[in-house]
């Protein structure tokens, strides 16, 4: 997976001549000197410290956190605090719900957006350009503004407070279609598809046996970015779900409402809700960075 973004068939390959330029010492890229490292290290600390602080706080008592000076290393209270967050904040159910929600959204988005992206990239049909242009145009329209009718719609369908109400609206994204179309256009040779058609393969067959294997790297990147976004989604889940059937973010919201005096419980909840994402990130951070730099258009 670490090599996928450098595979010759990927859009990343399009920049290899430029990379060569840079490596050959064209004047654009300076060698970093020590002030650069100092600045980057400080920024890295600022990026990570709030998360570390949540771990410190979540493993201590409320009194510890507000002591003077505040603690700088984790204590031994994590399990006690987690248990409180677990029992009173429905954290266990929240994690399960978030896993199901983010997993389904990631799978659905990857499948549907790859299908649509492939159709827009390689199939000729009436309205291809118009429909794609329309899709791209809507990327700038924030979906949060439709929350109220969406709430009414879900009420009519009796989906409010059910995780299906969180899954359905984000099962596809215009960004995903755009991302996959760009990738398919550049990574899948049309001749290969033509050969398949001449051999008598159906378009679906071609999609599943030729296109998907080629674009799998992009599907993985889109899946990870979508999973992260779905896991972290806040506004709509807070509106549609209640505290007895929360996602992680809804549970954190409730802990924030209920345990305002006891930051150790709040922080334990933050730790429980953030660790899965941090683990994903620690394992796949490189690919996510590559995906974001490649996508560059996600809002």
């Amino acid at each position: 997976m670490s090599a996928v973004l450098e595979k010759p068939t990927t859009p990343a390959a399009a920049q290899s001549p430029r990379r060569r330029n840079r490596r050959s010492g064209a004047g654009d890229v300076q060698r970093a000197s020590w002030p650069t490292y100092v600045v980057l290290t400080v920024v890295s600390l600022v990026s990570v410290y709030p998360l570390y602080w949540a771990l410190v706080g979540g493993s201590r008592t409320s009194a510890d956190i507000s002591s003077d000076p505040p603690p700088f290393v984790p204590g031994g209270n994590l399990w006690t605090n987690l248990k409180t967050a677990w029992d009173d904040g429905h954290m266990g159910k929240a994690l399960l719900n978030s896993l199901v929600v983010s997993g389904s959204i990631a799978l659905g988005t990857v499948l549907f957006c790859t299908m649509a992206g492939f159709a827009f990239a390689k199939l000729r049909f009436k309205g291809n350009n118009a429909l794609f242009g329309f899709t791209v145009a809507t990327m700038m329209v924030p979906p949060q503004l439709g929350i109220i009718p969406l709430y009414l719609l879900m009420s009519k369908l009796h989906f409010n407070n059910h995780i299906i109400s969180v899954i359905l609206p984000t099962l596809v994204t215009a960004f995903g279609v755009f991302f996959m179309r760009q990738y398919v256009t550049q990574a899948v040779p049309t001749e290969l598809l033509e050969a398949g058609w001449i051999d008598g393969a159906s378009t679906s067959r071609i999609f599943f046996s030729i296109v998907i294997p080629i674009v799998r790297p992009a599907m993985t990147v889109l899946g990870m970015i979508t999973f992260l976004a779905a896991w972290n989604d806040f506004f709509w889940p807070v509106v549609t779900l209640s505290s007895d059937n929360p996602t992680v973010q809804v549970a954190l919201n409730n802990i924030g409402v209920g345990y305002f005096t006891d930051y150790s419980i709040v922080f334990a909840g933050v730790v429980a809700g953030t660790i899965p994402v941090i683990v994903v990130f620690a394992l796949l951070g490189r690919q996510i960075v590559g995906g974001i730099m490649q996508g560059s258009l996600k809002g």
């Binding site: 957006c113 199939l123 949060q144 159906s202 972290n232 974001i292």
Partner: protein, 326 residues
């Protein structure tokens, strides 16, 4: 597609070819159908319906609605808290977007240098982006706490007396903006970095031969090349700022209770919070929808303004030069 039918010696396409062409167009529609069905039902329809709801008196508890024309808007613009939230959204938007993008630009420049641990720094700087708004806001609510907050302790060590972050107008807005800046700076830095790597090295070479200093190269080569990307990040950040919700909602947890009022004197109540309050606390869906529609119009205006500032021509970066920013 048509070329296969025009091959010499084959004046008529065979049934099989006809089936194949038919298969391709049917499959195309089949492949885009799931996207469009879901997209229309749960994305576009609610968005458009917001305009309809905004023109009605509609309540969360009672069923049915009645046409009131522009009454909701008239009520809004005469309402003190609406005007306050509008102003707060603008000031927090500026406080969060401007430093965020400037720092991101500088960071991208540093990350673009040859160095050890490049990937490490990039991944670390993206960690806040991977952190949820709820987690970030709750942690920062404690950091900005007045009596036992981490930041006031830190300020105390250098002899600065504690700041009452949450109750103050500017201090609370700065604190809320800090959460936004913390979460999004690294992400924007990566986007700038991607664009910087797409700038052809020859341009720098030529500039260097002409005797341009590093700063002049940055100013006259890097910045102009990054213009479309900068416009893009400004637009996206502005849209995000207009809808700011989770940060101010949970920041109030530091004051004792998370609620959509945005502080005791609504000092950091954004339009997103007000919309939530109107819809799900006050139960007035019409007014909430009118607020949403106002946000939408502001977003359009801000986008147009930003675009006009650059070239007067709408351009989505990446659409045309996609390969260039890969």
């Amino acid at each position: 597609m048509a070329s296969s039918a025009a091959l010499p010696g084959r004046p008529r396409i065979t049934l099989r070819q006809r089936l194949s062409l038919w298969d391709r167009s049917i499959t195309a529609y089949g492949f885009i159908a799931p996207f469009f069905v879901l997209f229309f039902a749960f994305g576009l329809y609610p968005l458009l319906d917001t305009a309809w709801v905004a023109l009605h008196r509609e309540s969360l508890t009672a069923s049915g609605s009645s046409w009131v024309g522009f009454d909701n808007f008239t009520w809004l613009f005469g309402n003190e808290y609406f005007r306050k939230s509008l102003l707060n959204t603008v000031t927090i938007g500026i406080l969060s977007t401007v430093p965020q993008l400037l720092v991101a630009l500088g960071l991208a420049h540093l990350l673009n240098m040859k160095m050890r641990g490049r990937t490490f720094f990039r991944v670390i700087m993206l960690m806040p982006y991977a952190t949820s708004v709820a987690a970030a806001a709750l942690v920062f609510a404690q950091i900005f706490g007045t009596d036992s907050g981490l930041l006031n302790w830190l300020l105390g060590t250098v002899g600065i007396s504690p700041v009452a972050w949450e109750p103050g107008h500017w201090t609370s807005q700065i604190a809320v903006s800090t959460i936004v800046i913390w979460r999004w700076t690294g992400y924007n830095a990566l986007i700038y970095l991607a664009a910087m790597q797409a700038v052809p090295g020859d341009l720098y070479e030529a500039a260097a031969i002409d005797g341009a200093s590093k700063w002049q190269q940055f100013r006259n080569v890097t910045l102009p090349s990054l213009k479309p990307t900068i416009l893009f990040t400004v637009v996206v950040s502005s849209i995000g700022a207009t809808q700011l919700f989770g940060e101010p909602l949970l920041f109030s947890a530091g004051a004792g209770n998370a609620n959509p009022l945005g502080g005791s004197s609504h000092q950091y109540q954004t339009m997103g919070l007000l919309m939530y309050q109107q819809a799900f606390t006050d139960g007035s869906l019409g007014r909430a929808a009118a607020t949403a529609w106002t946000m939408f119009v502001i977003i359009i205006l801000v986008t147009l303004l930003n675009t006009l500032l650059v070239s007067g021509r709408i351009r989505i970066p990446g659409l045309r030069r996609k390969g260039a920013r890969a």
